[in-house]
């Protein structure tokens, strides 16, 4: 059954993307806030059309959005399956297409023997990440809090990488590879 839903364009000037100079009392707070800010809602942008079901879309996708008349192509920057909403941004330099931090719930992950000390949790562990959609491995810092794994990247990465399997290598080879599936 076709389940029509909203397409909401998020303007690049949205306050979501502001670098607010907030001081965080812990790294965990900072990472949670940085990832939570990207939970887009209807009132963060404006309605530009309708889609025929969010399951047809992937993050970073350009084709098939079917909203015409734009000066630059639209890209999928967020998907909310629960509300059947698709969030899009205009142009490939739209801030919503790029991110410094990604979070993964650990049920997507084969954690192997990763068991960071409290100090490692707070300071992070240097890792490099292999993604099938990136030509070179990506340098990042890994944090593990409760049942959420955070990756803080050295340079912004395309949000599309979270839709693909990732392999995480530890720079000091202290633990075996983690796979995010």
């Amino acid at each position: 059954m076709i389940n029509k839903g909203q397409i909401v364009e998020i303007p690049p000037t949205s306050s979501i993307y502001n670098d607010d100079e907030v001081v965080f009392s812990s790294k965990k707070d900072e990472l949670i806030r940085k990832t939570a800010k990207r939970n887009y809602g209807l009132f963060d942008g404006f309605l530009v059309g309708e889609h025929q079901g969010v399951e047809q879309f992937k993050l970073g996708q350009r084709k098939g959005i079917n909203v015409g008349g734009k000066a630059a192509p639209l890209y999928v920057i967020g998907i909310n399956a629960a509300t059947n909403q698709l969030f899009v941004g205009k142009g490939e330099d739209h801030p919503g297409l790029w991110t410094d931090v990604l979070s993964f719930s650990t049920d997507r992950i084969e954690l192997n023997d990763l068991n960071p000390s409290p100090e490692e949790s707070e300071l992070g562990i240097a890792v490099s990440i292999h993604s099938p959609i990136a030509d070179i491995d990506i340098i990042a810092t890994l944090y593990l809090f409760d049942s959420t794994l955070f990756l803080e990247f050295e340079a912004p990465v395309s949000i599309a990488i979270q839709d693909h399997p990732l392999e995480i290598y530890f720079e000091d080879h202290s633990a075996s590879t983690i796979k995010i599936i």
């Binding site: 029509k4 001081v23 965080f24 009392s25 009132f43 530009v48 309708e50 015409g68």
Partner: protein, 585 residues
């Protein structure tokens, strides 16, 4: 009409406002929902619509009172207007030029609305700028952003953020009053996911742009003539009950539950503000959490009466301060609706380090002793690393008994021992360290050596004291050493910091080579060029009250900088080590 909403909110909080449906609606059964409720309202606003208004003279007379600008009653507020003058003028003299805008475009009616009946309904027609009215033409309404009305990229009409809620509630009225002749889907773009017969965009606008005092004024004036009312201005939540979608504001919470109400209750004032820690450039604060009827959304931290940062919990650290300087701090709690508590108590904290006003001293390095290995009460050799420096200490004790600032803040205690750094670059100008005698020993002093050369004496006593040795002035690589080989006094140390040192002459030369220039100034079209900077600098734009308004990364020398749409005025452009004022036009 967002701008006027705060006025509306304050009216609500001071006047005993009706919390239930007024008597006009006494025949409506508000336990009904969806189309049943819509049908009841349709009957009401149709049967009570006992007087019509003529298109030409009638509307002209009506607008004089119904659309008078509350701030200037000899002016009319023009729909879609957002600016002080020109085509997009918002407020214009009644005697000036304007015409009658069919918000539901005439030709989109089935059949055409004409200039009588729905085509001259006082709840529907609005005065508008003639040119803007014809630009809008019969375009369907479409969502957009910003204050200004414009034709959207998919060929719709965005009315501007002050008017989109007005448009939504007018079209709701038209649909309920005239039914299939004024279908909302014939005048608004897709999607329609909440209700198959009603556009999402209007339900969104009804929430985003709450009812304004101006709309209430209009509804009352028109109802005084036509005798019927626009129910969606009286209570926007009716739209949520009928067509679904995000909950609008419910002005009759006593009539039915649900929707949002206006939160006017401010959080309680944060109490007991204290400084929990400080260093040369940071001050940590904590305070008792505030309470709120809905919830505290965050706390603003003010430094010297200027908003510095916002935190979500009842503690925070302010960074980027100047060493050896007194700052005053207070915090304010706020809730999601923007209500603000009173100011907390104000405290004054002095950052550590030598305070030499006018002299740009920067902390070069610090050692807080937090990385010392396991705590131990024996006087042994210790080694640890922190911030890239390896520290070694001899005859050093590390247990809580010798701490200076409480059990959670580590320190180190030497007995006829020494503390020595690995090689550090950057030179040293001055050094500050906190000293304290934790046990019954007599006063004395430790010797400070840089690269093995004695540079000063650091006194200690039973009173914890920050001691600064100035004018050390050694360039290049340094090794810091604190040593006592005469007494057996047990002396605790903490909060070690030092400033960098390079000879001034070279700094002057470097400064001369680089003089920041911004052109054109005043800045036009939100773009300017800057020269006299390093490669790939980060440029920050501040407002005059110190608020960071924009950060631009990777600006090259003689490169172009594009600003956000900033309000006109004076701003400060700051690079790594220079700044300049700009005027934005």
């Amino acid at each position: 009409m967002k701008l006027k909403f705060s006025f509306f909110a304050s009216v609500m909080s001071f006047v005993a406002f009706a919390q239930s449906a007024p008597s006009y609606y006494s025949g409506v059964n508000f336990s009904k929902t969806k189309n049943e409720l819509k049908n009841d309202l349709a009957t009401l606003i149709t049967t009570t619509h006992t007087q019509t208004i003529s298109y030409s003279e009638g509307l002209k007379n009506l607008f004089k009172t119904s659309d008078a600008d509350p701030a200037n009653p000899s002016n009319l507020l023009l729909i879609y207007g957002s600016q002080a003058s020109g085509t997009h003028q918002r407020s214009r003299p009644y005697t000036g030029q304007w015409n009658r805008e069919h918000v539901y475009a005439k030709s989109k009616g089935t059949p055409n609305l004409g200039e009588s009946g729905p085509g001259s309904d006082g709840h529907h027609l609005r005065p508008a700028d003639n040119t803007l009215n014809s630009t809008r033409g019969s375009l369907l309404f479409d969502d957009g952003t910003g204050a200004t009305a414009y034709k959207t990229s998919r060929g719709g009409w965005y009315p501007g953020e002050e008017w989109k809620g007005d448009v939504a509630r007018i079209l709701m009225y038209m649909y309920v009053r005239y039914n299939s002749r004024c279908l909302p889907l014939n005048i608004t773009m897709n999607p329609a996911t909440y209700s198959s017969d009603f556009p999402d965009i209007l339900l969104k606008w009804n929430v985003e742009d709450p009812v304004s005092a101006f709309e209430i004024q209009r509804n009352n004036v028109v109802a005084g003539i036509q005798k019927n009312r626009n129910p969606f201005i009286d209570n926007p939540y009716l739209a949520t009950v009928i067509w679904g979608g995000p909950a609008a504001q419910n002005t009759w919470p006593d009539t039915f539950n649900g929707g949002t109400t206006v939160d006017t209750e401010a959080p309680s004032t944060p109490l007991n503000l204290v400084s929990t820690n400080s260093s040369a450039t940071t001050v940590s604060l904590a305070w008792s959490a505030s309470s709120d009827n809905i919830g505290v959304a965050g706390y603003d931290i003010y430094v010297d009466n200027v908003l510095k940062t916002t935190v979500s919990t009842n503690s925070g650290t302010v960074t980027g301060l100047t060493q050896g300087t007194e700052y005053s701090f207070y915090v304010v709690a706020k809730d999601a609706a923007g209500n603000r508590s009173g100011n907390s108590n104000t405290i004054v904290v002095r950052t550590s380090g030598p305070g030499n006003p006018g002299e740009a001293e920067m902390t070069c390095g610090t050692e807080d002793f937090e990385n010392i290995p396991a705590t131990n009460s024996s006087y042994l050799d210790r080694e640890w690393s922190n911030k890239g420096i390896v520290w070694t200490a001899t005859f050093a004790r590390t247990d809580k008994q010798i701490y200076i600032d409480g059990d959670a803040n580590k320190a180190i205690c030497l007995r006829k021992g020494s503390l020595k750094s690995s090689t550090i670059s950057g030179g040293i100008g001055s050094l500050t360290v906190k000293t304290y005698l934790p046990f019954a020993d007599s006063n004395g002093s430790y010797t400070l050596k840089i690269n093995g050369v004695v540079k000063g004496q650091i006194p200690y006593s039973k009173t914890a004291t920050n001691v600064t040795i100035s004018n050390i002035n050694v360039e290049g690589n340094i090794v810091i050493e604190l040593v006592d080989d005469t007494t057996s006094n047990r002396v605790s140390f903490d909060n070690l910091s030092w400033t960098c040192y390079t000879k001034l002459a070279t700094e002057d030369a470097a400064a001369k080579n680089q003089k920041l220039t911004v052109y054109p100034n005043p800045v036009k079209n939100n773009q300017f060029y800057m020269s006299g900077i390093d490669k790939s600098e980060t440029v920050k734009i501040y407002s005059l009250n110190g608020q960071l308004v924009q950060t631009i990364d990777k600006v090259e020398d003689k490169g172009k900088v594009t600003l956000h749409k900033l309000p006109k005025g004076v701003y400060i452009v700051k690079t790594k080590n220079q700044s300049s004022k700009i005027i934005v036009e």
